[in-house]
Amino acid sequence: MTKADTDALIDALSAYLELPVEEAYRPGVKFHLETARGIAEDILALDLGDHAEPAAVYIP
């Protein structure tokens, strides 16, 4: 993911979510999005199979 991709993502999602991202906020938001993308690599790489259940389960 390039820096330009991150900018495009912020533009698209801020519009989609009606979430204002002022120019002063953009460097910080970019940093955290790019950091999260790196951290998420480990999550995405782990294969738990189709039958893994999430821990957050509603108990009626």
Binding site: E18, L19, G28, A36, E41, D42, I43, L48, A55
Partner: protein
């Protein structure tokens, strides 16, 4: 000089009428008046309430009644706990517009019922999304061992108030490490109980999937005493466990005989500054522990907690991010805005990893009773420091002070953070996590108490405070 006593010692003196609860409260309030301008621990001091509560304790004693096991013990709470008639700030500017709380948080009600005396609300990182104790609105909580250094966060006021003996006991919250990080940086004992053990009702949330509440103190006896007073089912907490109280007061001083203790290697032996690794080695040597185990999936567990926190935190604050974005602490706002853009698939996968991590840990706990790991990667950084070096790379400090605490709270395990003093940590302490299986706070407290008895872990009142005040 009741200010320098532990909670247990104060309760004993009040109950035996060597000192009145009012005198204890007045001494504590005077110490807060003297030290808080420097350390910035308190955001609200509930003076009238405190004196009235202390008088009620004294009246009970005068009438021959038992005021409770925490008679006259002064305490304070992170300002995300509801305190009746006080606005629940949660470290924010935005919440200052809220009306005062209509009633106390459940844990405050329970401590008050045990005779404890609430002195006020404590500074914290905004909305608990913080490991530094810095706050753009109220200023940073300062480390009593050196006010140029961070108290840690997000329960920074708890660290500052405890290590300076403004109060012997405080309550904080821990979503990813916010009890254990300030305990480590300020040199206090901190208990993060099992997820679901203590009621969170009438406290301001952060990440419901991960939020815990728990006590800070300068002794393990005080942790045990207060923890027992706070246990109990609370049907109003949807994630509250339906377990009867399991008191630890009769357990925590039983020693470590028969306990299988291991040092967490792998992920927990990397990325630490020398003082972090030295602290764990010192504890392991004192306990005669040579066994090392790898906590499986620790790195991906931390990643999962990170992603869940970003996403749930952003969901909680989404409307405020739309309408009040300029009123956030910029460091918090930018993380929350990014969190609103995290793909849902990552979060769902992270919750699946949580279950798999739990299962892996339960397997590990078949052969081990206690795990030892660093609490923070380094001792208290200087206030304003933005980066630290981890694994040879310069990293943002704010999210990474929790690299060792995050996987453990993700699994919801009970932990006592114990304060250790090492040659490489100099005049500042650093914490070690004593980690137990779910619902076995008693085991973690037994090891912590044993270390305290040996003198390996200690939480002395910071020296030199009067020169700052």
């Amino acid at each position: 000089m009741t200010e320098l006593l532990t909670a247990t010692e104060i309760a004993e003196q009040v109950k035996s009428r060597k000192v009145s609860a009012r005198q204890v409260a007045q001494n504590a309030l005077a110490r807060i008046d003297r030290l808080n301008p420097v350390l910035n621990a308190f955001t609200d001091v509930t003076r009238q309430r405190a004196l009235a509560a202390a008088d009620a304790v004294d009246a009970k004693l005068a009438a021959g009644h038992d005021p409770g096991p925490m008679a006259g013990v002064p305490y304070a709470v992170k300002n995300l706990f509801d305190i009746k008639d006080v606005v629940t700030l949660a470290g924010s500017k935005i919440n200052r517009d809220d009306p005062p709380a209509a009633r106390d948080a459940t844990l405050i009600s329970r401590l008050d019922a045990a005779g404890a005396v609430l002195l006020g609300g404590l500074n914290m990182g905004e909305y608990a999304y913080d490991f530094t104790g810095e706050n753009a609105h109220d200023g940073p909580s300062r480390n009593p061992h050196d006010p140029a250094h961070m108290a840690g966060g997000s329960s920074g006021g708890c660290g500052a108030a405890g290590a300076s003996a403004m109060v012997p006991l405080s309550l904080g919250s821990d979503t990813n490490g916010s009890i254990r990080v300030p305990s480590s940086l300020c040199g206090l004992f901190g208990l993060k109980p099992t997820y679901g053990r203590l009621s969170r009702v009438h406290s301001f949330p952060f990440v419901a999937s991960l939020d815990h509440l728990g006590p800070f103190a300068r002794s393990t006896a005080d942790l045990a005493l207060s923890y027992d007073c706070m246990q109990g089912v609370d049907p109003a907490d949807p994630m509250g466990a339906s377990r009867a109280p399991e008191p630890v007061m009769g357990e925590f001083s039983k020693g470590i005989a028969g306990l299988r203790i291991a040092v967490a290697g792998g992920y927990f032996a990397e990325n630490g500054y020398p003082e972090a690794l030295e602290a764990v080695a010192k504890v392991a040597e004192a306990l005669d522990v040579a066994h090392r185990v790898e906590i499986p999936m620790a790195k991906v567990a931390r990643a999962s907690a990170y992603v869940i926190t970003m996403s749930e935190g952003a969901a909680l604050h989404l409307e405020r991010l739309r309408t009040r974005h300029a009123d956030f602490d910029p460091d918090v706002r930018d993380r929350l805005l990014a969190g609103a853009m995290i793909p849902a698939q990552w979060v769902v996968k992270a919750h699946k990893i949580r279950r798999a991590f739990h299962d892996a840990l339960m397997h590990l706990f078949q052969s081990v009773d206690i795990l030892l790991a660093p609490a923070t990667p380094c001792k208290a950084p200087k206030i304003g420091q933005k980066t630290l070096i981890l694994d040879g790379k310069e990293m943002a400090l704010r999210p990474n002070m929790g690299i060792f605490t995050q996987p453990i709270s993700f699994a919801g395990l009970p932990v006592v953070a114990v304060p250790v003093w090492t040659a490489s940590s100099g005049h500042l302490p650093i914490g070690v996590q004593v980690i137990a299986p779910p619902w076995r706070e008693d085991l973690a407290l037994r090891v912590a108490h044993h270390l305290e008895t040996m003198g390996i872990a200690s939480a002395p009142v910071a020296r030199g405070l009067e020169t700052y005040a």
